[in-house]
Symmetry: C2
Subunit: 100 residues, 2 copies
Amino acid sequence: MILVTVMYPTGPKFDRDYYLKTHMPLVRERWSGMGLHDATVVFGQSTPDGGAAPFQVMALLKFESADAFAQAAAAHGAEIFADIPNFTEAQAQVQINEFA
Amino acid sequence: MILVTVMYPTGPKFDRDYYLKTHMPLVRERWSGMGLHDATVVFGQSTPDGGAAPFQVMALLKFESADAFAQAAAAHGAEIFADIPNFTEAQAQVQINEFA
């Protein structure tokens, strides 16, 4: 299992309603049959000392394997990434992680 | 429940062995009785296109509440943060997140 993290920096506007009601359902629909086991979304609140959180939104996508994610991205990545400008201009930082 | 994310940028050296065998056990020991429900560690592998992952290590700490985390940090934060130079000089980005 791997974890794909999609992190949206704080700053640009972000339409949480669209993201939760349209974008994430699209992600789950396209990728659930391709190795996506879980998709958790969190919203950044603050740093521990009360400052601004560096990332306003993070999606934590648990995939069966790096290969499964590569195939899922190849199959539906274009459609999913093309939807991002509908809810934010923030540039997502995406990375693939292995569990310790 | 909230998620505290501790993210170490790629670049500085990072002693994974010390981190997994000494630092994270310390975190779990000090904070398990103070609202820490789960501590998951992931290692950044790459971006989807094969570039360097922005973060080399991320800890995902599920806490009972923001208050519980504040109390845990007040009680043992100094000791835990003082241990960081033992495994890396990377400056961790810490933020508190709420689940969507």
